[in-house]
Symmetry: C2
Subunit: 359 residues, 2 copies
């Protein structure tokens, strides 16, 4: 057993590349006549750019979206020069030459971005982010945007939906109408509005290029409903100890869980340092042999405790507890957050294994 | 500007090694006649084992605590063979030879651990974890522990406080009394009960070896009060855009923050993928030139928005927003969690810089 081999005591994060492929193909189909790109920012939503990006290319993706310049540089190394890579956070002072050299396309979102790219000269392609109501990043849609960007070699004009996860929210229609206005000013330039949720809003939101993120990684894009996606991330963590907790005894930090009856507890080698959020208890759960077992007591940094009282056949130390998979959304809800934050919050201590797609 | 140089668009995480040293020395002083070890699990609470562990050695630390065997192996590579390294999660089937080879000391916490170490033979040192009320990991204090471990070469007997952060909690005294009983059965074996909070409980809790964690990294060990610790982790993130938000306009996902008056907003290149938790808004804040600026709107994966209306001199794109430092505890509270989870949740996208202690 060498230092590089997975140790029985380490939790594993298994990432299903065939599921990523399947989710991409579904989003591409739902994108209709629009091309389907992919958001690969934040290390492909925490799941591994190095392994995931090539799978997306093989599935037909040619347009990738990173947040940071640093991410784009890594993506370029992985993906070679046959694909386009957009940098959603734009360009900062001093970075333009680097972007040009790596053929990264900045998404110009501020007057300063536009100036920096103008000054860099040479007519390299740029994208334009127009803010239609998100009020986070982008040139205001009401402003004289076409005049401001005159002379630039624009390859894409985009905006971002604030409320796509709630299909009935009036902002979706309002942002669509504002974006349509902007688009008419940029004839011949590709347009992009839809993230995963936007794709599901329907063809009016698709324009020329879509850019799904969360759906590729198995997270639900909508607050309720939506297509069934293939689960991508699966955790398996070893059970370290199984013991009886007697009625009246407490478990874990703060002693704020007290057994109201005799119980059996399994202590598992996963904690909040691995991304099992403290918020997940109470309400969160794992599975042992497919059966649900609730989290009880506070999640610690390296350990967590589950109520295994209902299992007919109790597990032994060394057996595995599973988390995420098809339960990603439920665990996110129990943790008072979104699947996005659960995935990007997965810690560095996992042994990561990739399966599917010839991985 | 090469791929390895910090880019202006990347957030930076600055870790003050002189502060770690200062906090260690304070904890060592507060440990009285007990030796002061250090918990370095979870990559030194997310801040970098490689850089921090040698600083602790130079400050006089010779006993280190990891959670996983994999962490211990990395620590051994960094620290050489002059220090002792304990593995709090114990030993799993098949791992004993590796532990022996790397001179890692398993903390035996279950009957299975004890059997595995017995079977491995050869009398290599082991530690023993007795559960005095945490009910998470450890042999039950009521059981016949001395008999169970007969023949083992024990170098440490330890337990863990469930409620140390609340000095007045009755469990602290109860666990102390139980541990004292256990200890008498292991004459000549070193004893350890106190984490950071336990050190502050007073000399009765110190025994032979203390093992502070959070205090070393600048986090408050107590729910209220406690010594002033030197801040260790400092974030600096670039401002990407500054713009007016008019009364009635919303900002960010879900449009659930609406301006009740005209405001100025700064959009900053840091998001929950970096560990600025979604929970932090509302209630959380950063600083620009030392002045507090509140988070407004939802934190996104790569971006967040701050209300800079009160700043007399508004910042420009490229200026820096600061997070953590002396505000770690306040940000943790605003995020409905502990400083521990904030630190271990810091993401991989930072440019990490170490300062102090000749770093």
């Amino acid at each position: 057993m060498s230092v590089d081999a997975p140790l029985p005591s380490s939790p594993r994060l298994i990432i299903d590349l065939a599921a990523v492929r399947s989710n991409y193909l579904l989003m591409a189909e739902r994108s209709g006549t629009a091309l389907c790109g992919a958001a690969i920012k934040a290390d492909a939503y925490g799941l591994g750019l190095q392994e995931i990006a090539p799978v997306l290319v093989k599935a037909g993706c040619t347009s990738f979206f990173c947040a940071h310049v640093s991410e784009g540089m890594v993506a370029r190394q992985i993906l070679g020069h046959e694909v386009e890579i957009f940098i959603l956070n734009g360009v900062q002072f001093g970075e333009a030459p680097l972007l040009r050299q790596k053929h990264l396309i900045p998404v110009l979102s501020t007057p300063e971005h536009v100036s920096l790219w103008h000054e860099a000269g040479e007519n390299a392609p740029a994208a334009l982010h127009v803010d239609t109501g998100m009020n986070r990043l982008g040139l205001p849609w009401q402003g004289d945007v076409p005049d401001m960007v005159k002379g630039l070699n624009l390859t894409l004009v985009m905006s971002h939906l604030a409320c796509g996860s709630a299909p009935d929210h009036p902002m979706n229609q309002q942002q669509l109408e504002r974006f349509a206005v902007i688009r008419t000013a940029f004839a011949g330039v590709r347009a992009s509005l839809a993230n995963s949720a936007g794709i599901l809003l329907g063809k009016n939101w698709h324009f020329d290029l879509t850019r799904p993120g969360i759906a590729l990684y198995g997270g639900a894009p909508l607050d309720e409903g939506g297509p069934v996606l293939a689960p991508v991330a699966h955790i398996e963590a070893p059970i370290l100890q199984v013991f009886p907790l007697r009625q009246g005894q407490s478990v874990g930090y703060g002693a704020d869980f007290t057994a109201t009856k005799d119980m059996m507890i399994a202590t598992v080698a996963i904690g909040y340092a691995d991304g099992l959020r403290r918020d997940a208890s109470p309400g969160g759960f794992g599975r042992i042999n497919g059966q649900k077992v609730p989290l009880v007591g506070r999640v610690s940094m390296d350990l967590s405790t589950f109520d295994i009282s209902t299992l007919v056949k109790p597990p032994k130390p060394g057996d595995l507890l599973c988390l995420l998979g098809k339960d990603l959304q439920a665990l996110a809800i129990a943790s008072d957050t979104l699947s996005y934050e659960v995935l990007t919050g997965l810690g560095p201590r996992f042994v990561r294994e990739y399966k599917g797609c010839g991985a």
